[in-house]
Amino acid sequence: MYLGEVIGTVVCERKYEGLQAKRFLVVQPVDHRRQPSGPPEVAVDTVSARRNDLVYLVGSREAALALDPWFVPVDSAIVGIVDSVDV
């Protein structure tokens, strides 16, 4: 899993049926100092995150497992809104 900052939204009217009613957000992956750690990506939101929120995400196969239904083509999901990073 990794940290990210929500920087925007993506709207897709036409999409795979298992992804109906899912929210897509644009996320900039960051490290613990909130420095970018890779290119921005699109993630499915499971926690009602908002723009500028610091969140944590899960990638690869496990991203789909965060969803219901879980047999969906997703490789990045927001699974928590971060209150604080204590380092």
Partner: protein
């Protein structure tokens, strides 16, 4: 698996149910000389009670995590699976 240094903790109130009651740590991947490599990431600590500054072994793959935590449906991908006492190369 990845050799990492524990940098600290992450707290989150709003989170996916799979993360309820799980401790989240910020870990920094390091090389065999204990130099940082790449960006820090987040790992669940459920079996080791790791603390800040500890050198740990992190499994970064979901199947192993689901096996260790005995749940076939967990959306968790990184888990601290050992506290490292010594690395000899």
């Amino acid at each position: 698996m990845t050799l990492c240094r524990v940098l600290g903790t992450v707290t989150a109130t709003a989170k996916h149910a799979a993360f309820a009651g799980r401790k989240l740590m910020v870990v920094q991947p390091i090389d065999e000389r204990r130099q940082p490599i790449g960006a820090s990431f987040i790992a669940v600590d459920h079996v080791c009670s790791a603390g800040r500054g500890d050198l740990v072994l992190v499994n970064r793959e979901g199947n192993g995590v689901r096996q260790v935590l005995s749940d076939d449906s967990l959306p968790i991908r990184s888990l601290i699976v050992g506290i490292v006492d010594e690395v000899e190369v």
